[in-house]
Symmetry: C2
Subunit: 355 residues, 2 copies
């Protein structure tokens, strides 16, 4: 039986239910500290309500690819990845000063609004930042707990833990590279590729696949096969995200159009553009990129540069060839037909032109 | 043989060595991501160089109190508490906008300075904040790893983990209560006591004791005994910290005099003062407390209020009686003479009038 879209929806629903159950238990713990913690638990529940559950899906199918059978314990274990991701996003939004996430106010903005509504004293912005930092920390802690108490056997967890640890260090290191690239300015294809590697290729796809496979007891050969599929898909996923960040429909991405340009994100798309830009186009990039007040006309002008320099087309070609390479590797991988089909479908979902 | 000060210095040195060894291994991992991560590893090593290692000491003696024998694995396991604390402090300094920690620039200020020295583009402040958020996250992750790979037996770690998890959630919840109290303003003895309970009594003393005792396989009776000693000592420790934050010598506290007053921390000391303040004294509190630009004269005026209302004396009395209660509980606890002596000495160190 192939993995139909219904299966993906079903897994998504099960992961969501597992997250809700975990949060429910932890909410009880927070209530013991005090009723003031209610808004913290609410904000987290609200935040976790969204998300495509892509990382749990890769981990789930990594487990299945290694011959494991799905279970509620497995869904809980892979669901923990969503809490790591919640930490990364909540902290990322503070770092970038983003207003919106998943079509709703970013967590720090949400607590800023709470500060204003309750007429608290002091800086609403500082309160929002503090609450979001702490909420991100809580996500990281609860992620750990959710994996640990998933009900997976102790030996499976022991195999998974080194991968879990590497993954968490890598995402933070990748985030730092990204922040540093913005601060250093300029454009470099090499640097952009390295940020993509750690922030996405490994963190979003390869490590989740390995996590699932390790839970099932996979050996190094299967892990290597999964890397050959996962790394290109992860890179393609991030490039798609970069393209959507500039050209995507805000109704679908959940973020205002051009936000990545206002933040001055040093994407591969921009590095490609800089390689082939005329002097006038370079001036446009320098003037507009990273301008937090950039108006829609400026966004349009930058989009024009990305199209005219061929950067968009080159990125699309790269997405296509990476995806192809991943699918070729998948065909050569020692995984059964059902897992292969599900992973092929996930590859398509992760790199699709719609958010 | 009693626990002499030399033993405490020795434990501190062993914990420091274990932290350095752990960081050394992780630095190698970061170097694989890229040479740009060097300053991140350096900043963390520098930060971890300081600290009194109080939490590891309580955990170590909790283990010994439960009849366990010290080992390098135990030192590594309890040393992990310093990394949780590093996360809490690094993030706390971002949230409070503190300039100084342990006599050196706070981590976010350190990265701000790096941004300026390297003439990076964009906001130096934003870069510093981003780097400190990520470094704090890394501490939380590496804390976990250090405990997990300490070399303690799997069954010991399994017993310790629920306590480790509770502790980490409690510290973040306590921090939120603290931030919220500042935002809500006003003064409440009840609220101040609750913040102290979670931020310090449980997190700094009770949970580390329990962590150590659980690693050694202690039963619920010993855990209760340790709570009867640990909770009052933890509260007394925080009250001492509050007093030092206002009246302490900056050369010893590593923070400018009066910083807690500029941040508007809602301490029990202040709640006591508010309870007995005259109208004029209330006006002084309202005017100066939480003023980030408060000059030394203002700090002196607030100190005057704390002395004249009897708040300082009341706090000192409370510290004395809490310490006494803890020592009485310790005498009644089923622990051997050596552990009892070490815990009595730790009680004195945690509540001493010098930082």
């Amino acid at each position: 039986m192939a993995a139909t879209p219904l299966d993906r929806d079903d897994l998504r629903a099960r992961v969501s239910a597992a997250l809700r159950a975990h949060l429910h238990r932890r909410r009880g713990r927070l209530a013991l500290v005090g009723p003031e913690l209610g808004p913290v638990a609410d904000a987290l529940a609200d935040f976790l309500d969204g998300g495509k559950r892509l990382r749990p899906a890769f981990a789930y199918w990594g487990y299945r690819a290694a011959g494991g059978h799905g279970s509620d314990a497995l869904v809980r274990a892979v669901g923990a990845l969503e809490l790591v991701q919640a930490c990364a996003l909540i902290h990322d939004d503070v770092m970038d000063g983003s207003d919106t996430r998943r079509g709703k106010p970013a967590v720090h903005r949400h607590f800023e609004a709470l500060h204003r509504a309750e007429k608290y004293t002091g800086s609403a912005e500082r309160f929002g930042t503090a609450a979001a930092i702490l909420l991100g920390d809580v996500c990281l802690i609860w992620a750990d707990e959710m994996l640990d108490r998933s009900g997976m056997p102790a030996d499976a967890l022991e195999r998974a833990r080194p991968i879990w640890d590497e993954m968490r260090t890598e995402i933070m290191a990748g985030q730092y590279l990204d922040v540093l690239a913005q601060a250093q300015g300029g454009h470099s294809v090499d640097r952009a590729v390295r940020v993509v590697r750690y922030k996405a290729a490994k963190y979003t796809v390869e490590r989740p696949l390995h996590l699932g496979a390790a839970l099932a007891g996979a050996g190094p050969d299967l892990l290597d096969s999964l890397s050959r599929y996962g790394l290109p898909i992860g890179e393609a996923f991030q490039l798609r995200d970069d393209v959507l960040g500039v050209f995507g429909d805000p109704a679908e991405t959940g973020k205002p159009a051009g936000d990545d340009l206002r933040e001055g994100k040093r994407t591969l798309l921009l590095a490609y553009a800089a390689e082939r830009a005329t002097t006038a186009q370079h001036e446009l990039l320098d003037r507009h990129l990273g301008d937090p007040d950039l108006a829609d006309e400026g966004v349009d002008a930058l989009r024009g540069v990305l199209v005219e320099t061929g950067a968009l087309a080159r990125t699309e070609e790269r997405i296509t060839s990476l995806t192809q390479r991943a699918l070729d590797a998948l065909r050569a991988a020692p995984v059964d037909a059902e897992a292969a089909e599900a992973l092929a479908e996930l590859a398509a979902a992760a790199t699709a032109r719609r958010a």
